[in-house]
Symmetry: C2
Subunit: 782 residues, 2 copies
């Protein structure tokens, strides 16, 4: 579709589109009239010709009919276009310049109930809508206020309106999760003193006496458990019973969020008059790119798709797989880095002066240093891969030549989401479920690629490392995202308008300024959703390791709403308005994440956190007759005979600390449940190991079943559409049916009166299909 013809007939500006396809119809562009405007009060938002006097009031556009005859009168609103628009002509004295950008891209919605039209300020006394939006919506100071959704919808169209409605609702729901998460964190802080095992670790007579086996080959020496004292304390903040509660709470919160959103969406759908809007109407619009490539295949309705589609399709998916493999390779690279670097850190830190600092020194363990640096490297890799992949994804989707915009967006959504899912979450998955799980034991360590010894977790648990990883990736992504979103368009606009900015106001007119703004790309909204959905994944999938995640997300989103608003009102041209009655494919993805999150959280609580071993110890293996946590640390560490450690795993000379040589140490401890040396089954798993394993698995089963049952019950209990909306919709349907019936009746009466009373009372209405009519007639006459 291209603009091919502009002519000025007397006082009317006519912009004609050439459309080769009969199923595309152009809606009217209506620009409201400003009556008697004083030149001083001229609204900046009105569109003027260069001279600043002649205002463009209406534009009439029309299409060629199939038979080549040009329609000169208003194309009347078709039956299904009941929106009461009318297009008129108003004088624009002379032949002006071509104003090419007004009509550039109008949404074409044949068959939709309301035409979308492009309003500008009605008269100068009213504020322009855009300015109202800027004033009441885009300012950060109004962050606590509800968004003016109806105005947003009116100005930007339903699609963008739905996005902001969703974002607002999500932020609102997040606040509940954030409060509960904060309470869980506070519980952790409040019960800090009950943390018996950390006390034991820090205690000189318990933790100070326990000699641990080296954490890496050759470069690591023996170490005392008490060095992990502080990280054990930190760990407790996130690894306590409140976390289990919070994991279950979030499982149900997610369900409530999705269910209530469905209701909110249904209400919006009703209020914004989208109930009868069918996505298919938009789907029928072909993409221009598709049309240019496929014109010669027009006739065949079934095999309209390009012939070489299959080949390309496979190619495209091969590319996606390639990229995902690339990420996995990067992740493995990072893991290898962690394994390789750990030994180095361990070796360096042994003698480093930080060991002497009381406050900082105890915090910076080799594990911590490795974790943080690896997470940062990871984050940088994620960002670079993301940046590169974005372009690749768009290019391969272009290559597939999807038929419609909806199809295009869906194809891209799958590709991008799959990639980003792997990209953002895989490092967290590694830390949560693989790190420290396949370590082996001092006599028989497990190696990655036969080269790097697998990482161990700290005696405090792996959970704190997952938390670190999560915080770095999540916060980093959010900060970076906001900077990119706000700064990039601003810088671009600043660059584009650099020459014009010096002109006086009268010369740098409003429409030029508007034109110089960034265009809002068709995928702009897609990126906004993607960002939010990835964030949603962070706060649900790994919430058991970090109850403060919803709070971080909440703070980000409060900012995000206003940044987006600011961006929309000041940095972008008014985007092409489009209809949408839902958030589309994202709803399905959110549901998938919600289901998946229950599984990940159950596994995190049982396998990443130390909750279950502690509970099993407390109730089944405790010392004395009372159930207590005392002695847990000693119980949770197995004993290994130093003399049995293979030579290649032993620390090199000089790597061991001094105290090791000064005392006669024959055994070291490691984190596992195995029989001590000398036992008949030495170094095989003890009964406690199997007991704990059974408890872990039982916890997963119970948690998953309980949460899923509650989830589905809640989802079943909450109707998807509020009852009043349902009733009103039904009432309207009923009225329409009533109306249609009356109308047909009226028509038939006229018809019957014309046909005369001779065929009485057997009348076969003319509208009936002829073949059957004849059959019935013959019956009548026999």
């Amino acid at each position: 579709m291209q603009q091919c013809f502009v002519k000025i007939r007397k006082s009317v500006l006519i912009i004609k589109y050439c459309s080769k396809f009969s199923n595309m119809r152009l809606d009217f562009v209506k620009i409201n009239v400003c009556v008697q405007v004083d030149k001083q009060q001229q609204s900046k938002d009105s569109v003027y010709f260069r001279d600043g006097v002649r205002r463009i009031d209406f534009i009439l556009s029309y299409i060629d009919d199939k038979d080549g005859e040009k329609k000169q009168v208003c194309h009347p609103p078709s039956y299904s276009l009941v929106s009461p628009e009318c297009v008129c002509e108003v004088s624009a004295q002379n032949t002006p310049q071509i104003i090419y950008y007004i009509i550039l891209k109008m949404p074409i919605l044949s068959g939709s109930r309301n035409t979308l039209y492009w309003t500008r300020s009605r008269d100068a006394n009213c504020e322009s809508e855009r300015y109202s939006l800027y004033k009441y919506w885009a300012r950060f100071s109004s962050f606590y206020k509800e968004q003016p959704l109806n105005l947003i919808r009116k100005y930007y169209g339903e699609k963008i309106g739905i996005y902001f409605a969703w974002l607002g609702f999500y932020t609102e729901m997040l606040s509940y999760a954030a409060v509960v998460g904060l309470l869980c964190f506070i519980y952790g802080v409040a019960t800090f003193d009950e943390n018996v095992w950390s006390k034991e670790i820090c205690n000189d007579t318990i933790g100070g006496q326990i000699v641990m086996c080296p954490l890496c080959d050759k470069k690591c020496g023996y170490w005392k458990l008490s060095t992990t004292c502080s990280s054990s304390w930190q760990s407790y903040l996130f690894d306590n019973t409140a976390t289990v509660f919070f994991a279950i709470f979030m499982g149900i919160w997610v369900t409530l969020f999705l269910e209530f959103w469905k209701r909110r969406q249904a209400r919006l759908e009703y209020e914004w008059d989208l109930v009868d809007f069918e996505e298919e109407q938009q789907q029928l619009q072909l993409r221009p790119e598709y049309e240019t490539k496929c014109t010669h295949r027009r006739l065949n309705r079934v095999t309209q798709s390009p012939a070489d589609k299959a080949g390309r399709f496979i190619l495209c998916w091969a590319t996606v797989v390639l990229w995902i493999s690339l990420i996995i390779a990067c992740i493995i690279g990072v893991i290898a880095y962690r394994l390789a670097v750990f030994a180095a850190f361990a070796s360096i830190m042994k003698d480093s002066p930080t060991n002497k600092l009381d406050v900082v020194g105890t915090l910076i363990t080799p594990q911590f240093a490795t974790s943080v640096t690896a997470s940062c490297i990871n984050f940088v890799i994620i960002m670079i891969l993301n940046f590169l992949y974005e372009h690749v994804a768009i290019k391969i989707t272009d290559m597939e030549v999807p038929k419609t915009h909806v199809e295009y967006e869906n194809k891209l959504t799958v590709k991008m989401f799959l990639f980003q899912f792997v990209n953002y979450y895989s490092s967290c998955f590694y830390v949560a479920f693989f790190k420290g799980k396949f370590v082996g034991y001092p006599g028989d360590y497990a190696y990655m690629f036969g080269k790097w010894r697998n990482e161990e977790c700290e005696p405090g648990g792996c959970l704190i490392e997952l938390t670190t990883q999560l915080v770095i990736v999540m916060v980093g992504k959010q900060v970076w995202g906001n900077i990119q979103e706000a700064l990039v368009p601003w810088l671009r606009n600043w660059w584009v308008s650099r020459s014009a900015r010096n002109h006086p106001e009268s010369l740098y007119s409003r429409w030029e300024q508007d034109h110089d703004l960034q265009t809002f790309s068709q995928l702009g909204l897609f990126y906004e959703y993607l960002e939010m959905v990835i964030q949603f994944g962070f706060i649900t999938l790994f919430v058991a390791s970090f109850p403060l995640a919803p709070l971080l997300a909440l703070m980000n989103n409060i900012l995000e709403v206003r940044v987006d608003a600011w961006k929309f009102t000041t940095q972008f041209r008014r985007p092409v308005a489009a209809k949408a009655h839902s958030i589309g494919a994202w709803d399905e993805i959110l549901n998938m994440i919600a289901v998946f999150s229950v599984v990940t959280n159950a596994f995190i609580v049982s396998f990443t956190s130390d909750m279950i071993p502690r509970l099993v110890y407390k109730y089944a293996y405790h010392l004395g007759s009372e159930s207590t946590m005392e002695g847990y640390i000693n119980n949770s560490l197995s004993i290994f005979n130093i003399s049995e450690i293979p030579v290649e795993n032993r620390p090199e000379e000089g790597e061991n600390p001094d105290w090791f040589y000064s005392s006669n140490i024959t055994t070291c401890r490691y984190r596992d449940y195995r029989y001590p040396p000398g036992h008949e089954k030495q170094y095989t798993h003890t009964m406690q190991f199997w007991h704990i394993l059974a408890a872990k698995l039982a916890f997963i089963i119970i948690m998953e079943h309980v949460v899923f049952v509650v989830k589905f019950f809640v989802a079943w209990l909450i109707p998807d559409v509020p009852s009043d909306v349902k009733a009103r919709t039904k009432r309207e349907h009923y009225l329409i049916q009533e109306y249609l019936h009356d109308y047909e009746l009226e028509k038939l009466k006229i018809q019957l009166s014309q046909n005369g009373p001779n065929i009485e009372p057997c009348t076969c209405p003319a509208t009936a299909a002829t073949s059957v009519k004849l059959e019935v007639f013959s019956d009548c006459l026999s």
Copy 2:
């Protein structure tokens, strides 16, 4: 709605309905004309007046208008009723008797696209539709043929058509499951010889030497393991690795069944022209019972429901809960019976002559006798409760006074299904998940109500008992169901027509015969669905215990289709035709059962079957260096010191067999993993116990996650609507839109030509809403 007026005007029979409600519209009844029928060839299915000459050809019915004016001409098909029906009058010379039953209950579908009509044989040369159905569909000899679905739909309406389509599809899908199930069973038979543990049980030097602890207090004596030899062999048939495979297979089969049914349904929906049919149109019809009770509340649209609804609602649910408690009480009663009776059987059988019979005697153990009699009692109780509850459920649903038929059926569905679910399955759940799980051990047995000692499973496993229970309940239900379904209507018809049967053919006319048939109650289809859904539950929920269940169901269904067909064509009056585009609420229930079945099967395989302990033994606790099953029986039985058995649990004098006294036996064995006497932790669980428990739980987790992931992936992969159906539907929508648009355009052209060319080119069409029109006009004129 009632028939209040029948008059004969010249040659026309007019039956008038009085409808108080304007939203109810009567469709036409069309009875086709038979032209020039020889009296000899008169089709029996044509409707004649008593004299046998005057045939009823057309009946015209019409309704009063709102303004009281009677319409005399054909009520033309309304706009949305595009079906090309026309009603004419044909002579029926004299005033005949009133034929009251023809028009008794016509489906009233205002606004639907096709009117439903009641066809009789077109002419005498053609067979009547009912006769064709009887000939080609209702005979058992055509069981391998496809059902004539289109004819069924034409004759009985869409609702019944969909039922038979579903039943046929279900039977078809069952055949695959039956074949795989049979293969699994054959695998069990083929690998019979590899069953090492049964050999060990039967072996005189192993099983013959193992003395087992008494199974009940006082009345049971010590016994030798070899007595369970034969039941152990039987058990292997169902409790082998093929069963695990089959459980997983069925999890996926269920998904495929539901997904493919969706597609089939979508295709039927298209072919039967139900795409645009909205359930709501039927929902708008109020039930007469509701209307009579609520006439005075007509005005208030919102609070139309009876005021005392809440009270009744609670009452109704209280009744349901009461009945479910009643079932549970019955189940507990049966369990108590089992516990009580077992001792008796054990005591009797000890000396009974059956012990001497080689073939039968070894099969009839006290466990077996208890199982079978308990299952039979259970079955009888189930049937009696069912019979009683049916009436109660209908009564309490009547008391709730639901507004519409759909609402009525939904309310009843929930009540009936909930009840039947508990009624039919609870005994199976007891055997699968409770029996033998909470036994305790010889020193500390667990008691129900402190009185009856909990049942133990045989050393062969509980699975064989579940199989017995399942077979008895399932087969019993099916046989009983078929007898009831076929015999009861036949007997009733036989009774009703007893006087008329002796009349000659000419006097006992066709319509009288038809009138004497049973009426097909509005809930008839509901019961058919319920029966099938309960069967579906049997073959999915407990399939891991009995791979032949699908085969049994298949055989039943092949019969069921024809029995239903025979019943419909010969034993019932033609039912009221109704529209339906799906199987309704049952779809949701089937989905629920499908999800639930994965969980139950996973639990059956791990906890009811002996699979996991055997595998753990084979790979972790086997004797010697090779993984073998030898020694499993000895390993799986713990040792108890006879002298430590409490007095109240010891067998009474004379209950022990003779060999017990003749040898010096100090220990007995029981089924558990506990330390032997003399061990430091004697009678507490061994490591193997925790190891097996962990393996069981791990199996549940793995099986559930794998099956659910595959399930959802398959469900996502298979589109709900076949692509060609989708394309055709879209195409039709498109054509309708095109047509509507052209029509409106035509209308507008006429309008414009009438208005004259003076308002050129700015025309504001008259159809636009007036308020906005004025606004736009003012713009034009300024």
